[in-house]
């Protein structure tokens, strides 16, 4: 990789985020010019909850957390690198005395700024100060209905505080979202939880799987088994549609996927050209720990992915030169193994969320939490589950290890899995920019079955449709739809009929 990223902020190509897309939306230039678009920063490890699944084992502050001057300087440097969104987390961000100053500095740079919180003792005073400093969004973590949430979070009454916080944030005009982790018990809670968070004013709902790191390794019964995706994914698709109709936009996290029958609804908020395009760690994102440790993603294991520390090197130099930062830019299908190595989507998916696969199996590149994979196995009467075989050490962001067991689905007829040749896996050409970045591949949805296919396909490998013919029919239908939308909009405007706000507003 060259040292060619020495662009002054003004040298970066101007940003034009498409309408309706978030500021965090990745543009091509973010990949080619290596812009850390979204930074997630654990500003303190101090926490007032005791979550059974906490990957960072939060509770006490780290012994040498960045001081105010160091933290403010870091924000200035992130702005220079082109960061557009900053999420402050912990622990619990507001347990850091200078958290308001950090918000204010971030907002002074025009960086979209939010926090993710458990919301215990998120007082009116704290919210008022944060709002005044320019905080734009508050994400509250809620892991299920009251009994489950309080148990998982380790503090009775924490659900009530979380829901109450949503309402108070909404009343102050800030954006309100909820993060929910899906563990072994969560699925049945989701429909009613969705009702409750809509009532409390949430407009966006991030869904993700609990990952085997830190406290979650100590409590492995919390983890969803991979084969449960067969039930969970259709449920999420149903809730997505219902939520959208009620003004709530479901946002799936990076470990929900990949390329199953619902991929076309997960990532584009109505734009099905957006699909999973691989882990963005070290390409368009940065994670920061409270002591100044820099990683390509906030959740990656510290022991394996520390790229540097801002007390030793500037974040810009770490971003440009650290090997542990650049792994995401340089990896290829050769690092994949198991099912993922010979998957049709190997070169675009890259085994999904690095954090999830590495924390689970001890080596990234093979990820059983994949809808496409789970369905493929099920067609052959098989399923996968995970069993802990090694404890995680006591450190923050520590991992243990799980064994992946392939077994017969009870009562199912078993047929052999096809033998797939690694050499037959399609590898997309990647042109590396002078800065060392490269665009991830772009697949298109087959217009007959909506499954994503590589651009070279003439016949869809999933449904055997003629790709060009299906596209032609789709284009005709699409033109007709758009003409209807235009006509209806024109007629309604003449009648003085105004639009309702859509989901996410």
């Amino acid at each position: 990789m060259t040292d060619a990223i020495s662009l002054a902020p003004g040298d970066l190509a101007p940003i034009a985020i498409p309408d309706g897309k978030p500021v965090r939306y990745r543009l091509e230039r973010d990949y080619t010019e290596l812009v850390p678009v979204h930074v997630v920063w654990e500003v303190t490890l101090a926490c007032n909850l005791k979550c059974q699944h906490c990957g960072s084992r939060a509770g006490r502050p780290r012994s040498d957390e960045l001081n105010t001057a160091e933290a403010l300087e870091l924000i200035d440097h992130l702005a220079e690198l082109g960061t557009r969104e900053l999420t402050l987390i912990g622990g619990e961000a507001y347990l850091r005395r200078d958290w308001i100053e950090l918000i204010r500095r971030s907002r002074d740079h025009g960086i979209r700024t939010g926090i993710q919180t458990g919301a215990r003792n998120l007082t009116d005073k704290r919210l008022d100060e944060a709002a005044e400093a320019g905080l734009q969004g508050v994400g509250v973590s809620i892991d299920g209905l009251p009994e489950l949430h309080d148990r998982v979070r380790g503090v009775p009454g924490s659900y009530a505080q979380a829901i109450d916080a949503l309402k108070r944030v909404k009343a102050r005009g800030m954006a309100v979202s909820v993060n929910t982790q899906i563990g072994a018990e969560t699925a049945e809670h989701l429909p009613e939880l969705m009702d409750r968070i809509i009532e409390a004013g949430a407009t966006h709902w991030q869904i993700q799987l609990t990952v085997a790191m830190g406290n979650a390794v100590d409590n492995p019964e919390l983890l969803l088994q991979p084969y449960k995706l067969l039930e969970v994914m259709p449920l999420l698709a149903r809730l997505y549609r219902e939520g959208e109709a009620r003004g709530l936009l479901m946002v799936v996290g990076n470990n929900i996927g990949y390329f199953g029958p619902y991929e076309h609804i997960w990532r584009g908020f109505g734009d099905d050209t957006d699909h999973w395009n691989g882990c963005s760690a070290g390409q368009t994102g940065i994670g920061i720990e409270a002591d100044g440790t820099i990683k390509g993603c906030p959740s990656l294991a510290t022991s394996l992915y520390t790229a540097g520390n801002v007390r030793d090197m500037s974040v810009g130099d770490i971003w440009r030169h650290s090997e542990k930062m650049s792994f995401g830019r340089l990896r290829d299908v050769e690092e994949l193994w198991g099912y993922c190595r010979t998957c049709y989507y190997a070169d675009v998916c890259r085994a999904g969320c690095t954090w999830t696969s590495e924390s689970l199996l001890g080596k990234r590149g093979n990820n059983p939490y994949c809808h496409y994979r789970v369905l493929d196995l099920a067609k052959h009467g098989l399923r996968e589950r995970v069993v802990k075989i090694k404890e995680a050490p006591a450190e923050s962001f520590a991992v243990g290890e799980f064994a992946l067991i392939t077994e017969v689905i009870p009562g199912a007829e078993v047929t052999p899995m096809p033998v797939r040749d690694p050499k037959a896996v399609h590898v997309a050409p990647r042109e590396r920019s002078a800065a060392g970045g490269a665009l991830p591949p772009s697949l298109t949805p087959c217009r007959s079955c909506a499954g994503y296919i590589w651009p070279h396909e003439i016949t869809c490998p999933h449904c055997e449709a003629d790709v060009a013919q299906a596209q032609e029919t789709y284009d005709v239908d699409s033109q007709r739809r758009r003409a209807l939308i235009a006509e209806a909009t024109r007629v309604f405007a003449k009648l003085g009929i105004t639009a309702n706000a859509g989901a996410g507003v």
Binding site: K21, Y31, V40, I89, I115, Q136, G139, F492, I497
Partner: protein, 61 residues
């Protein structure tokens, strides 16, 4: 390109549902609200025409 949703980060809060389906559903909702408020004029018109035709057709035999 897709937004990339870091799992320890907060949800996107500045994305809005778009695409043809969302637009069509929005327009449907507007049309239904309008009908509820003002009634179904095309159906009324058709019925008016039927009744007019019946009355105009009387006494021809």
């Amino acid at each position: 390109m897709a937004s990339g949703i870091a799992l320890y980060g907060g949800a996107i809060t500045d994305a809005i549902a778009g695409g043809d389906l969302a637009k069509l559903q929005g327009l449907q909702a507007q049309a239904e609200d309008h009908l509820k408020q003002y009634g179904d004029i095309p159906t009324l018109l058709a019925l008016l025409k039927v009744e007019i035709a019946k009355l105009e057709g009387r006494g021809k035999y």
